[in-house]
Symmetry: C2
Subunit: 86 residues, 2 copies
């Protein structure tokens, strides 16, 4: 029987990649009067999907992340998959 | 003595607000062959700051979030503050 899972993909630029948007945000935080360094801007994509079990869902979402959601040259991701109550 | 803290702000649209970007992503996930519903796109802003203690940092970042980082009419946020090793 198919179960529902809530998927969360956190997408960040790789460590060596210049984060231009992060720098702009950092300047704004400093202008606000708060100390900030190493500021990074990332993305969250969340959705509900179905699958037989968590392992199968993780495998297909890894493929989705690498082929559709991220740019593997510049970005990396962290994946969280949780079963939803029926 | 001032300590360093790593701040993570997760920003999402409020539940009732239409997430146009989320819908576009959802269509792409489905075209990829994976079931998706209730797809939401959010943002992560992370930076290192300084403060006397965690409580003081949380208070000032709450102010920063509401006045600078989010649009309180349409967005909500989750805040995570962790002490960094010296």
């Amino acid at each position: 029987m198919m179960k529902k899972f809530r998927v969360k993909v956190e997408i960040r630029l790789k460590d060596g990649i210049l984060d231009a948007e992060g720098r702009t945000i950092e300047r704004a935080i400093k202008r606000f009067g708060i100390e900030a360094e190493n500021t990074r801007k990332g993305k969250i994509i969340e959705f509900t999907t179905v699958g037989d079990n968590k392992e199968e869902v993780v495998e297909k979402i890894k493929r989705l992340a690498n082929e559709l959601l991220i740019n593997p040259l510049t970005e990396q991701y962290i994946l969280e998959v949780k079963g939803e109550e029926a």
